[in-house]
Symmetry: C2
Subunit: 409 residues, 2 copies
């Protein structure tokens, strides 16, 4: 039996020596770590000059950003798991790595241990990627899966996720889609050889998804997932990136991704449809991704080379959400009287949104209200928004109960 260090050495072609560990609380006992290697002075560590690789798993913007650029300046390559920083400042960090002739690897930043960055950057480097659509946040997938399988409401499912440790005390970053949006920015940039920043990503959380939405989804043979979707426009001249809950058919491979698992569906010209599936978070999966990058960076170091840097040559602009074209499922509360459907249909037509199906049903409690469920053909988000605004102004429309995009068909 070999030890893990021996395995790393054999795979790299040279032993890896731990030079130091910067932590906030040095008093916390760390099994297997020589206490003499532990320091609170991260800056001094990355400035030492004899460090080959710095692994950054702090998270957040600062001090991570300054430590990473300082590491480059002092001759180290960097392996990072920092999605927020990469999504916000990926271009600058890649530039700093390039100037220093060092590597910047970050497989762990997106979808944990699932090999995704490397397949997109390298395996598909000879192909043209048209869409990346994935479940990249385990917390929200756990909540939605729970709502789907048990009929629980959002709050109840969130409480269970919190109790089981899948959701943090403040779940905002997950449930409002910030975490997924950072990953979408990183994936879109790599997939389309362009620069996509966090601010370019349209973001809608999943806190307003209801059990009624799941019932509607089931009526359509669908379920609901929080999706990160990065698309090349039909004319190829721009891209979009967005995060929002969406209905997807139960037959779609992403529909069967349960619990806290992640999965990313990639569509390209030549390869066709690919999917990458696995645990999206957690200490051990993150360690797997970080160590994979560490081996790659060390191999590059021994070869006197660096791996692929940023590839943003295509420089495609990011279009606003209004340009996104997809289908919509709209639930309206309307007056239960003749002529309402005609009024509603007219509003859709006036905005150029073609209706696929309409389902109209009286409320069991009567009361003069009915519900109207409209599923559209593909239309731009701008057209749909205009339609909904106009619907709200109709006297006969009492309320727009929900609007959900329909993807993956």
């Amino acid at each position: 039996m070999t030890t893990h260090a021996d395995d790393l050495a054999a795979r790299i072609g040279a032993p890896v020596e731990l030079a130091g560990v910067a932590v906030r609380r040095p008093s916390r006992v760390r099994a297997g770590i020589d206490p003499a290697l532990v320091t609170t002075d991260a800056t001094a560590l990355v400035k030492r000059g004899d460090i080959d690789v710095v692994v950054e798993v702090i998270g957040g913007i600062e001090p991570a950003r300054t430590l990473i650029t300082t590491a480059f300046e002092h001759g180290a390559s960097v392996v990072s798991a920092n999605k927020a920083l990469l999504a916000q400042d990926g271009a600058a960090l890649h530039a700093a790595a390039g100037e220093a002739g060092k590597d910047l690897y970050y497989e762990a930043a997106v979808a944990g241990a699932i090999p995704l960055i490397r397949p997109l950057r390298e395996s598909l480097a000879g192909d043209k990627i048209n869409r990346v659509m994935g479940i990249v946040n385990g917390t929200t997938n756990f909540i939605l899966d729970k709502m789907d399988s048990t009929g629980a409401g959002y709050q109840e499912a969130l409480d269970e996720a919190t109790a089981l440790g899948y959701a943090e005390a403040d779940p905002t970053a997950d449930v409002e889609g910030f975490d997924a949006a950072a990953k979408a920015a990183i994936l879109a940039g790599i997939a389309f050889h362009s620069r996509v920043r966090l601010d370019d990503v349209y973001r809608e959380g999943m806190t307003e998804v209801t059990s009624a939405d799941f019932a509607s989804a089931r009526n359509m043979g669908c379920t609901i997932k929080l999706l990160a979707i990065c698309e090349r426009a039909a004319d190829g001249g721009s891209v979009t990136a967005r995060v929002h809950p969406a209905m997807i058919p139960l037959t779609h491979p992403l529909a069967s991704v349960r619990g806290a698992y992640n999965a990313v569906f990639v569509e390209s010209d030549a390869a066709g449809q690919l999917m990458f599936y696995g645990p999206g978070a957690g200490g051990a999966p993150t360690a797997s991704a970080v160590l994979g990058d560490l081996v790659a960076v060390c191999r590059n170091r021994l070869a006197g080379a660096t791996g692929p840097g940023e590839s943003a040559y295509a420089a495609l602009p990011v279009s606003p959400m209004g340009d996104v074209v997809t289908r919509y499922h709209i639930s309206l509360d309307v007056a239960d009287k003749p002529g309402v459907l005609a009024q509603v249909a007219t509003v859709f037509a006036e905005h150029g949104v073609s209706i696929d199906t309409v389902r109209q049903q009286g409320r069991p409690d009567g009361g003069g209200e009915a519900s109207l469920v409209v599923v559209t053909h593909r239309a731009s988000d701008a057209s749909l928004s205009g339609t909904v605004e106009a619907l709200r102004n109709l006297d006969t429309v009492r309320g727009v109960a929900s609007i959900m995009r329909v993807e993956g068909e």
Copy 2:
């Protein structure tokens, strides 16, 4: 809009120039290829000395092997899609590449466009892989999926696969598991950092799977897939590789892989359970994988480096099939009289195979025969073989209708 050649140049950092194309029939018109570049003399082409990369998509052992080694000797790196050759002579080819200081890449050899070789070699280089289990042959998955979904028999499903172009006129390589076995050898070698040759892989085809087997599988909440399974032994000291039809639970991610798609499930210490899914064959998917490798090899060439070579340092021996431990589903035709179950149970016990469930039922047509379905706990293949041999010698056992392994639980 950029052309594809421009994209490749931007991603590599230098233009790629097509130096020549060796073909058997030069008269066949090839759109977009300068006829002056076409030759029938492949040997002269790889010997030119000014070639940076040779792409080998001939298949088979010779002349591919000689052309590849000749290419290395004359200063070229090689991208290959040749699973048979890699499974048989991978070690020698890697050695030849290493001696010449050149690259040997072959992502297209296993599971078409699905990034698999690179994730295993690189992304998981810091992890310990314990099992690789996959559907790596699209033809047989198409046939089994058809049998499962329509109730068709093997021959009927094969005929449809042939008519649709999923099966070749002579389907032996697919249906007898030779193709999958070659891929299993390649995957096992990479996953376990050891040498696994085609001859080391236990192989059983799927021509004897019947609709009765699918009915049995459904009774257990399972379906049947032809699986390639590469495992590290529980004590870590050896590995096994095998290809055979097996029952897997409908809840397993591999169970929902339909049609001619491929998918490979990977289990490792830190990353946990990963799955890679996509089209396993076809011209365009193969081209995607080949071009991805081409970009990587060209980047290495520009950096004056080579990518990771063979990693076989662990040198784990390959154990025979008898050492494989799994569960079994056995259907017996037995005499319909008291005491038979006791006899059968005794035989299992004598061979150390523990029974999980037994289902006994009289035949609707009477006639003194009954069927007995036994599902075992985990046992070695050798113990199970001994059990079956002894069962065949019982007067009361009229026949062993089927033996199927149960995986993925």
